[in-house]
Subunit: 193 residues, 2 copies
Amino acid sequence: METRQRQADRSRETKRKLMEATVECLVERGWSGTTTTEVAERAGVSRGAQLHHFRTRGELVAAAVEHVGAESVEVLKRRAEIAEKSTHAVVELIADFHASDLFTAALELWVAARTDPELREQVLELQARLGREVYGLALELLDVDDTRPGVKDAVQATLDLVRGLALANQLADDAKRRAHVVRYWARMLEEQL
Amino acid sequence: METRQRQADRSRETKRKLMEATVECLVERGWSGTTTTEVAERAGVSRGAQLHHFRTRGELVAAAVEHVGAESVEVLKRRAEIAEKSTHAVVELIADFHASDLFTAALELWVAARTDPELREQVLELQARLGREVYGLALELLDVDDTRPGVKDAVQATLDLVRGLALANQLADDAKRRAHVVRYWARMLEEQL
DNA sequence: AAACAAACAGTCAAGCCTGCTTGTAAATGG
DNA sequence: CCATTTACAAGCAGGCTTGACTGTTTGTTT
């Protein structure tokens, strides 16, 4: 019984290492720098082992996409639990989340998916799922009801805004300006809700 | 005199074709799909001619970056001239501009530049220049003065928002939702300014 | 313990991308 | 009118990436 588990665990662990290496690679080297060889090396796994678990590059990336999604939601929820519940704190939380490495990896996938049919399907699905989840979480954190007129627009605009801020933060460190805009937006939002 | 011009013209035309093919390729195939071979073929130019004008891939892309920048500003200004001057119309104009192919090409460069040191320098410079230009144009179009408190934040937030909207529009057609958010924000902005 | 399956290591061939080199025609300048 | 320069064509070499293939170890089942 135990031995049976041991192999399954080892297998899962290798897969996890490969997926995390993929994400790490996406962040550090970008989409085109994320080669199977590079990922295998980073994961400390042989090409053979990699190919055993993920037959093609596409499969590996698909798994990594899922991994990013699952991790994203989990991280955000965890942070939300310990966060202050003021409008400003919540907007800041969501904005900071979008400035993390996880968003960077997601952005790489997002952009790559635009011109990669196979990836596109997966990322579209992930986007929809993740989008809903984040939207719901935002509603919950802001403690508002989106059946009230205007609330839906306000929350959606907020999410679009933080995505735009995150984009501007990719090339240069934009934390200061971001904090400023977030403060402005939070005041704005508070009046609305 | 005429003959002297002929060669220079031909040269410039070939360069232009190569740069436009690069942008077109960025939009259709993305950064990693934008290979020198592909660009040369699209431009209807031999590899030799391409290499004659742009010794390296980096040089070609650098030129394309400039091309994107110049074209972006020009296009936006041209559209602005014939546009209505209401807050909603202006926000819509800027949002639509960010949903164009030009933005898609810029986004490809932007994301690629994050992990490409050489490209990074160029795109950072372009970003700063283009950012200022668009900001100035937004001020002008909205007919506001950014020395007045709050105006700067409002305009910056607007630009961040449209960038976020543009991002969401990359994978799936988001025009309907975008229009909705734009309308919402335009109302909001009008009160602010 | 023996047969079978899964995990893993290492190497190989095919394909693609980039930049270089050789070759040709046209244009410019003296 | 000729020498030189410029614009362009075409093919080639080296390097990298991907997926496949072969062999070995570890685990599972009976």
